[in-house]
């Protein structure tokens, strides 16, 4: 039996420590992992908990991220709670097995500490790895600060392991900006956190020796499509309501309110920025400054990235006159992902708004308030003109000549 860890009601944790404690409190049965900056401290902290008797599950230090996720898949199929963490190149190395985990309908929690993907090699935060995972069939929840990381880990276990869902989940946080920046985190006592997550209930578990199961069968053109459709159906139909339910219960338990789409200053907003990760809080600050000047500026933060809450996003943005979508990943040949997603959300609605796209912060380049002020100024001009007054896609915070397209 693992020892109780006495936490203060408020701890000063960075995002990695928040994730480590959430894994400990969820009493994960198997953590199989491989270290990579900036997610390494998640498994280092967890290893320290284990070395001091606070964890009684198994801890497998694999020879690579691919091996780590492969072990996670085997462990999840065996029938117990499984979690791990990675970033960037490690995420890319895992990618093959990420599709396996979701296709095999195995609940696994993956903390992704977002980081740029080489080349050029870069250890800092951007959203390239998060974007790379977006077709992999995982639930993806985005965090803006260490408190989010703690809470979303607890939520993700519940949703992922629900028998109606049985899909793996990623909890994303920004490399260094969240993962290595200590902030106040309101904690739950170990038993309260564990009860919120709930006991793991096995299904099709390999270790039920009286009921052998076959995991990872082959399907060709006769069945593959039906399987993938069913997987998509589970992701589309069941996840959003279950996440909402978990958010509601978390609010009852803690008073902390999370939403599928995080709206800030949006009730009467005419111009809005849509973004993810730590940028959401920076944009919120800038919108407050603009509000003080009488400018109706708001922010929409993506909280649940997959499944994408299309209707809720459209509803949040329906009264705007101009929107900027901010993408922290190089689109490499097209518009940013959020531009496409938001366009898709609004296209068949009555909303007539001007949509533009900004690429920012690659490789950990800071997103400054002055950059956001200039984005909002563009939005004001676009709102007034009723059409884009700038190129559709612009790079912000980039040295050298202005780069824009379309």
């Amino acid at each position: 039996m693992a020892e109780l860890f006495e936490l203060n009601a408020i701890e000063v944790w960075d995002g990695n420590m928040a994730a480590s404690h959430a894994l400990r409190q969820a009493q994960v049965d198997v953590v199989a992992a491989y270290p990579i900056t900036p997610s390494t401290p998640i498994v280092e902290n967890y290893g320290t908990f284990m070395a001091n008797g606070y964890v009684d599950g198994e801890y497998v230090m694999a020879e690579s991220e691919h091996g780590a996720m492969s072990c996670c898949i085997g462990a999840a199929a065996a029938g117990g709670r499984v979690a791990t963490a990675t970033s960037s190149q490690g995420f890319a190395l895992m990618l093959e097995t990420l599709y396996s985990a979701s296709g095999m309908r195995l609940p696994i929690l993956l903390n992704v500490v977002n980081r740029a993907i080489a080349a050029p090699l870069n250890v800092n935060g951007d959203h390239s790895d998060m974007y790379m995972g977006r077709d992999s069939g995982w639930i993806q929840i985005d965090c803006y600060n260490p408190q989010d990381v703690y809470d979303m880990n607890l939520v993700a276990f519940r949703v992922s392991e629900d028998h109606d869902i049985r899909l793996p989940a990623m909890v994303h946080q920004d490399g260094f900006m969240t993962s290595h920046t200590a902030q106040r985190v309101k904690t739950l006592p170990d038993d309260v956190a564990y009860n919120f997550v709930g006991e793991y209930k096995p299904m099709n578990d390999m270790l039920d020796l009286d009921n052998p199961v076959t995991h990872g069968a082959q399907t060709e053109e006769d069945w593959h499509f039906e399987h993938k459709a069913r997987q998509h159906h589970a992701l589309m139909s069941d996840v959003i309501p279950k996440i909402q339910k978990a958010f509601d219960e978390l609010k009852t338990l803690t008073g902390r309110q999370y939403n599928l789409v995080e709206k800030y200053n949006m009730d009467d907003a005419e111009i809005a920025i849509v973004c993810m990760g730590t940028s959401v809080e920076t944009a919120e600050e800038v919108s407050n400054e603009l509000r003080a000047q009488g400018i109706k500026a708001g922010v929409v933060g993506i909280r649940v990235f997959r499944p994408f809450p299309l209707e809720q996003i459209a509803a949040a943005l329906k009264n705007t006159k101009a929107i900027a979508t901010l993408d922290r990943s190089s689109p490499n040949g097209t518009v940013g992902m959020l531009f496409n997603e938001i366009s898709g959300a609004l296209f068949n609605t009555d909303t007539k708004t001007v949509l533009t796209n900004y690429i920012y912060g690659l490789g950990g380049r800071d997103l400054t308030k002055s950059s956001l002020h200039s984005v909002y100024r563009h939005l004001q001009a676009n709102a007034q003109a009723g059409h884009p007054t700038t190129p559709l896609q612009q790079f912000i915070g980039l040295r050298g000549p202005v780069l824009s397209f379309f």
Partner: protein, 317 residues
């Protein structure tokens, strides 16, 4: 542990089937013989994994399965890690008192072809062995990527014609010697490493049972004669296997704790390597004037390896 009695072949061949005959493997494929011999060597429950390959694609095509034991497949390279993950979960749930059948301890076994073992999956196997998972890894060594139509692997022996190392007017086929996977796995310090062949079933079952009785990672390299890619008649699988073991092309031995080497089968009448090569289409071109010199080289290599194994055995190092 619980062991199937292996007094005679009839008794052994009629033991409870956990690998069903209903599968899509080629007639005459040695894989199915080896898998049955491994599974029938224990009465304990089994948790199995397979890497992508002939065995996998022929035994779990939805909505059918040939496995009456829990079985998992993820990809080409990670059957070892799949079973290692399951083994870790078993340990965790045992420790936490959550096993459904706490009185029974299953055996954890991963199967992979030589492509999945010698080549693409080697890193994963090496990781599992270094970490000391309590598992058995069985390589079904047919010396070629048979599932995808006969491309060379690092187990393909020199002189064999494979589709990516074909023999022709300007080439005798595969140019590299077969990788010595036994030495590599023994060098991990694995407690038990053994080479087996399905025709020598008593030797094989004894080794599998030794492996099951061993704590820690066990590596079994099983010669799997491939009727399709070695190019011999399906009814000749055991005859070809006999030629391999009698000619010492495929010597049967075990290595304990990385050092103690024991030869487990000594042919009464060692036959020439030429007889083994001549029985297979993949070596047909070696019997031309142009490439015949390779047959002598083959014989010399096999002789030298046999000499080496005997010296290792004698020296107990």
């Amino acid at each position: 542990m619980s062991q199937t009695k292996t007094k005679n072949l009839k008794n052994f061949s009629t033991s409870a089937e956990r690998f069903e005959g209903a599968n899509l493997l080629c007639p005459g494929c040695a894989h199915s013989i080896i898998v049955r011999e491994v599974l029938n060597a224990t009465d304990d429950n089994l948790i199995l994994a397979a890497s992508t390959g002939c065995l996998e694609v022929c035994t779990a095509v939805y909505p059918h399965t040939s496995w009456d034991a829990s079985w998992i497949h993820i990809g080409f390279e990670n059957g070892s890690s799949a079973v290692a993950g399951a083994e870790a979960m078993h340990k965790a749930l045992k420790n936490k008192g959550r096993l459904k059948q706490p009185d029974r301890t299953p055996k954890f076994v991963a199967f992979g072809g030589d492509g999945a073992t010698y080549d693409i999956g080697f890193q994963w196997i090496s990781g599992c062995f270094e970490r000391g998972h309590n598992m058995m890894y069985v390589c079904l060594d047919n010396e070629v990527y048979a599932n995808t139509g006969g491309q060379r692997s690092s187990s393909t022996p020199i002189g064999a014609s494979a589709t990516t190392s074909p023999a022709g007017r300007a080439s005798y086929g595969e140019k590299r010697n077969k990788k010595d996977i036994m030495a590599i796995m023994a060098a991990h310090g694995a407690p038990y490493v053994a080479q087996v062949a399905p025709n020598k079933w008593k030797d094989m079952v004894k080794k599998i049972q030794t492996g099951f009785a061993t704590e820690g990672p066990v590596f079994i390299n099983a010669m799997s004669a491939c009727t399709t890619e070695w190019k011999f008649a399906p009814e000749d699988t055991i005859a070809i296997s006999d030629l391999a073991t009698e000619s010492l092309v495929f010597p049967l031995y075990e290595i304990i704790d990385g050092t103690e080497l024991n030869i487990t089968y000594r042919p009464k009448n060692i036959i020439p390597v030429r007889d083994y090569l001549g029985a297979q289409g993949r070596f047909k071109h070696l019997f031309s004037k142009q490439y015949e010199y390779l047959i002598d080289e083959w014989q010399n290599r096999v002789d030298a390896k046999w000499e080496y194994l005997q010296r290792r055995e004698e020296a107990r190092v």
